[in-house]
Symmetry: C2
Subunit: 417 residues, 2 copies
């Protein structure tokens, strides 16, 4: 747990399962610098709308599509998305934020909210208010157990909780030596996952000292390399939210934009987010296999990422991975469907394209002979690796997804989730 | 069967099943005006590349993204896509076209080709050459049985053949009264279906008299309303092809652009293509239910079609349809993910949005109460109807898809198709 934060969880009764469903993170050394990326779905959940409003009130506006400001607390509810609930849903969410603001004695604009669960149902506000009053401040913890409890509480149909963290040394405040800074995060994944500009709920905390605007730029750079390269089922949710908070409590010198410290902190944040995104992919609904697609030789990094995303999102590729079928034709076809954000085609020439599946080169402008039985066995690993070389330039990128299984269909056909 | 054409099928042995796998259509009164729309996948199959080249040689270039020219014959092979097969695949396809040109005594540039099946395998050219020599010209038929045989031969994992046709009266050549003109088509569907600019294989024939450039404009207008509004699994194939041929053999006056005859012919072509697209959707791999999404109240027709397409393509909506789950939250979320062709968001405001599922209004800016048990029963029909009213303008459109079932996953996990 980075210094300057505490976290915890409570069971309010939103989830019928009786599992914990309220996660709270608060700052212990005054408001933290905050950056947030939200879903690009045109239908935005009440917590997304409220968090945008609060960051606008405490910050200096959006930086490259990421909202920045200051925050003293995050409240995440699980089991109810509070999306498409109309004005009543907005009022519900405001009451939840007010409950945390009151107990913290901070302005309500310093409270950020996220929520996940069934779309179209109302939050049981009194239960959440009771949970916040019981949890905060006495039951919050400043150690890893607090982070673990919060990570557990935000899950829905996830089979396991998703956390990541690492430490790095940054120059100390005042210029005397260095201090250890921590970057930690937790996230949930499962279904309705196909982030555009943001993803499902993820919270990343650091005790580095970073101004909100720079924090926003770091988050924007990270999201395009990590959560936006993740897909489970091609559906972008109404609730996707990534929060990145910096408490400054490690005693490190303020990180300057463009400095070596900024580059190293960005690499640490990216590593944490990449780990969370891979955990989300591996734990997709009904998934048994993590599918990783790495692309090089593209005309640009952005085009490499677009190709990787197209392959990892193809239902037919995902079904082939599920069946351990080395059906590389579907990979080639999916790569050919890659499009840039403006809808235009990426640069791709099939005669220069090479495909390697679990280490076996299967296509290089034309079909190559390979031992299908051996390749099937290699595809039985927990992670299936697809490498594409476009043979055009120096652009590279990767994306993560999962297999498409009968279980995904059953889970999403039989239950309102 | 429109006048001026004959068609038939043969079993060459491309399909292991022993079913017919070669379909041929030829003209009987000289070359027909021809228009074709092809896949926008960057990996284009050998038959797509060859047909583009041939239309460029016989025509006056592309009209609004549709290639136009003249054609004396179409050869469709099934069981092998001849895609991603390198220069050898191009040479194979040229030999197939040459075989039909030779037996017809026509220039090879008047031959159009399409193919469907497994990507990455080579066409067994000698078997196809033998089939063409046996089938053409003796075994081709100018009646509906010829069309039915051709429709049967192009299928792969389709469970039934897809044909459509209708007749309309147009002014006769020379201005004396009217003659009956026929528009008929056949198509295949199944999987890897998410057309962009074109679709899987469809052949539409008419005996109206239409210049190639106008025929191209009619096809372009039709495709955007029909095949491009169809999705089975979000994967655009390497082989998508729609051919539209006009023989002029009905004795009707040449159709002038912008005339009443052009509008009526366009409506007939659209009706035939719409029927084929709906048959393709209903017979998607593993599908039990035709999903139709109708949108009105959009800012434009194009945006209405984009919203309809986004909903019909959502894995979560498709799984809910499979499970007869009136989970309208997924419909609202999918609508919020609609994007225009340039990647920009459509105009949509959730507070104005209304959703009607199988005739029951379930959302109107906020959740509405409804009887879930009754709605589940209604959703058990062979066609599930979703109506969206965006409440913004006069734009409307529709799209077709199918449910996502365990059978889709099994079919595509267990077999190389």
């Amino acid at each position: 747990m980075p210094r300057g934060f505490q976290a915890g969880a409570w069971t309010c009764g939103i989830k019928a399962s009786g599992r914990s469903d309220l996660a709270v993170v608060t700052t212990t050394a005054g408001p933290a610098a905050a950056a947030a990326a939200f879903t690009s779905n045109l239908v935005q959940a009440a917590p997304v709308r409220l968090s945008r409003t609060h960051l606008a009130a405490t910050g200096a506006g959006d930086t490259a599509g990421v909202a920045t400001g200051r925050a003293s607390g995050i409240v995440v509810t699980s089991g109810c998305a509070n999306a498409a609930t109309g004005p009543a849903g907005d009022a519900d969410q405001a009451q939840v934020a007010a409950a945390l603001a009151t107990v913290l004695g901070r302005p309500v604009a310093e409270i950020l909210c996220a929520s996940t669960g069934l779309i179209g149902t109302r939050l049981p506000v009194p239960l959440v208010q009771t949970g916040i009053a019981a949890l905060v401040p006495d039951a919050l913890r400043a150690d890893d157990a607090g982070l673990a409890a919060a990570a557990e509480a935000i899950l829905t149909t996830d089979s396991r909780s998703k956390t990541a963290g690492l430490a790095l040394d940054l120059p100390a405040a005042g210029g005397r030596g260095s201090v250890t800074v921590t970057v930690s995060g937790f996230a949930k994944g499962v279904g309705m996952i196909h982030p555009r500009l943001a993803t499902m709920i993820a919270v990343v905390l650091t005790d580095a000292t970073v101004a909100p605007a720079l924090l926003g730029r770091l988050l924007q750079a990270t999201v395009s390399l990590t959560f936006n390269q993740l897909t489970v089922d091609g559906d972008t949710s109404t609730n996707d939210t990534v929060f990145l908070l910096a408490s400054g409590a490690a005693g490190a010198a303020p990180v300057a934009g463009g400095s070596a410290a900024a580059r190293r902190l960005r690499a640490a944040i990216t590593a944490v987010c990449r780990s969370l995104a891979r955990q989300q992919a591996a734990d997709g609904e009904g998934a048994a296999t993590l599918l990783t697609v790495r692309v090089r030789g593209a005309a640009s990094d952005a085009e490499a990422r677009a190709v990787a995303r197209a392959v990892v999102g193809s239902s037919l590729v995902k079904a082939a991975v599920h069946g351990r079928d080395p059906n590389w034709g579907r990979i080639v076809s999916a790569a050919g469907n890659a499009r840039r954000a403006d809808g235009s085609a990426v640069r791709l020439r099939v005669e220069r394209l090479a495909v390697t599946l679990c280490g076996t080169r299967v296509f290089a402008g034309e079909p190559l002979a390979f031992d299908a039985a051996t390749l099937r066995r290699r595809m039985s690993a927990p992670e299936v690796l697809v490498d594409l070389d476009l043979g055009l330039g120096g652009g590279s990128g990767e994306a993560w997804g999962c297999d498409l299984s009968e279980t995904y269909v059953r889970e999403n056909a039989e239950y309102s989730t």
